[in-house]
């Protein structure tokens, strides 16, 4: 099999004439991408392209592939990159969530340093609806800043001790000692004021109880108090409600000439399984372009030159959102849309200063 590692020679790349039906496809070639920018603006071509809400309503498509407790995958079709990217950025950096902000350490004789332990506690996702908290007033005096409407208090009090009657020769610290490992579940919620009533049946707790915070040995102890507040990801990543929020563009595989027989089998192997299938006549066809990773492996083989064109659909976004656990991914996305809308509405009513 001929492998092509180097382009043959430099060539001049004139501005490509993009046929109208291809204007929505970002071309992916051996060592370059083409047609990367949106051109759907008035004055750019003979088409009008003016903003038209009714047209947008007609064209916008949303398909949800899965929507589970911790993750979702959905397609936004016929929307511009600038809008899709705004939703993605807001999900990561501007949708509020609750995390530990201040850790008051009374005693820490473990080997993990105070600031490292405080940092680890900060990163634990808490299973609490952010809408139940109000924002902290940063201007308030530190003694009056925290109250039952804007802060959840948790405590962590563990000490490690030797267990009696352990069989001879045991080396497992979990059997030898009590509390040899400190987990997120050891954080205990201490309701303040009205919270006693509000959280009678569902105390604030970490989403994942088995996150390891520290390891202890007999005689060591940790005693601390945590204030958990509302924040946003642009202030600190611990406030981000998502583990990931990303999109990719829909892959397009355009087979230009029939690929049959042995060649079809080799062609199929250039793609992840399920992308290319072979029909009863032995010809390769695109079964599911969505599964493609666009590795461009097929472009490395000279035998397929001119037979296939790779691309991505510029207006077809495949979103993948994974929640840290506090909010459903559906809620996170809907909040991002509302936040963008609020930004626009707020600015619309703002007086413009000189």
């Amino acid at each position: 099999m001929e492998m092509r590692n180097e382009p043959k020679k430099y060539r001049y790349h004139p501005k490509p004439q993009i046929p109208p039906n291809m204007s929505d496809i970002v071309g992916i070639e051996y060592n370059r991408v083409t047609n990367t920018t949106s051109t759907d603006f008035p004055g750019h071509s003979s088409e009008e392209n003016a903003w038209d809400l009714e047209e947008f309503k007609k064209n916008l498509q949303i398909n949800i592939s899965h929507l589970a407790g911790r993750s979702t995958n959905f397609d936004l079709i016929n929307i511009d990159t600038s809008i899709a990217n705004a939703f993605r950025r807001i999900m990561i950096a501007e949708v509020p969530s609750v995390a530990a902000e201040t850790v008051y350490i009374y005693n820490n004789t473990s080997v993990i340093q105070d600031e490292v332990l405080a940092h680890r506690i900060g990163l634990i996702p808490l299973n609490v609806d952010p809408d139940t908290l109000q924002w902290i007033d940063p201007a308030a005096d530190e003694n009056e800043r925290f109250n039952d409407a804007n802060t959840y208090v948790m405590t962590l009090d563990v000490s490690c001790s030797k267990r009696d009657n352990v069989p001879e020769g045991t080396t497992d610290p979990k059997i030898l000692y009590r509390n040899s490992s400190v987990y997120a579940k050891d954080l205990k919620f201490v309701p303040q004021g009205r919270q006693e009533q509000l959280f009678k049946n569902s105390p604030v707790a970490p989403c994942d109880p088995n996150i390891l915070l520290a390891k202890l040995r007999p005689g060591q102890e940790i005693s601390l108090r945590v204030h958990c507040i509302l924040g946003i990801g642009s202030d600190h990543a611990k406030f981000s409600p998502v583990a990931t929020a990303s999109y990719r563009l829909m892959p397009v595989i355009d087979i230009k000439e029939p690929i049959v027989g042995e060649l079809a089998k080799r062609f199929q192997k250039c793609f992840p399984s399920g992308v290319i299938e072979i029909d009863e006549n032995g010809a390769a066809y695109v079964a599911d372009a969505r599964k493609d990773t666009v590795s461009r492996e097929v472009l490395r083989h000279e035998e397929f030159e001119g037979k296939v064109k790779l691309g991505r659909k510029r207006s077809h976004f495949i979103f993948n959102v994974e929640s840290t656990g506090a909010m459903s991914p559906l809620e996170i996305f809907l909040k991002s849309v509302r936040i963008l809308k609020n930004k626009a509405d707020y600015l619309r009513n703002c007086p413009i200063g000189q």
Binding site: W51, K57, L347
Partner: protein, 124 residues
């Protein structure tokens, strides 16, 4: 969000006070107001690029661009020049209205799709 919370947000919007320093005009506007630059505080590419897209979609707008003048200052500059039938400020407001209506429609469509079902609810 529960019904109760929705009401609270609605009230909050009505009572909202607007920050007089949020957006200001930068030097360099034309006498007739058809070309102007705005500076918005505490916004970034998230709003900047989305707003630029909607303003550029306006056939009355000749040019629209945005920049973050310095990465450690939370400022967003937006430049708008129109062909002369509307002012830059009107183009900005039309862009903001368009963005707001777009978001409303995305939210409605998404909610419809969630209610319609037909998707997997188990973690992949």
């Amino acid at each position: 969000m529960s019904e109760e919370n929705k009401d609270i947000t609605m009230e909050a919007v009505e009572e909202q006070e607007y920050d007089v320093d949020k957006i200001k005009l930068l030097p360099g506007l034309s006498e007739d107001g058809t070309a102007a630059s705005f500076q918005i505080i505490d916004e970034d590419h998230t709003l900047g690029n989305a707003l630029r897209y909607l303003i550029m979609k306006n056939p009355e707008v000749e040019f629209c661009g945005y920049s973050i003048p310095h990465p450690s200052e939370n400022k967003l500059n937006v430049r708008i020049q129109t062909y002369g039938n509307i002012t830059a400020m009107e183009a900005l407001h039309q862009g903001l209205d368009g963005l707001s209506a777009l978001c409303t429609h995305v939210e409605e469509t998404f909610n419809e799709k969630v209610e319609a079902g037909g998707y997997s609810v188990i973690e992949p």
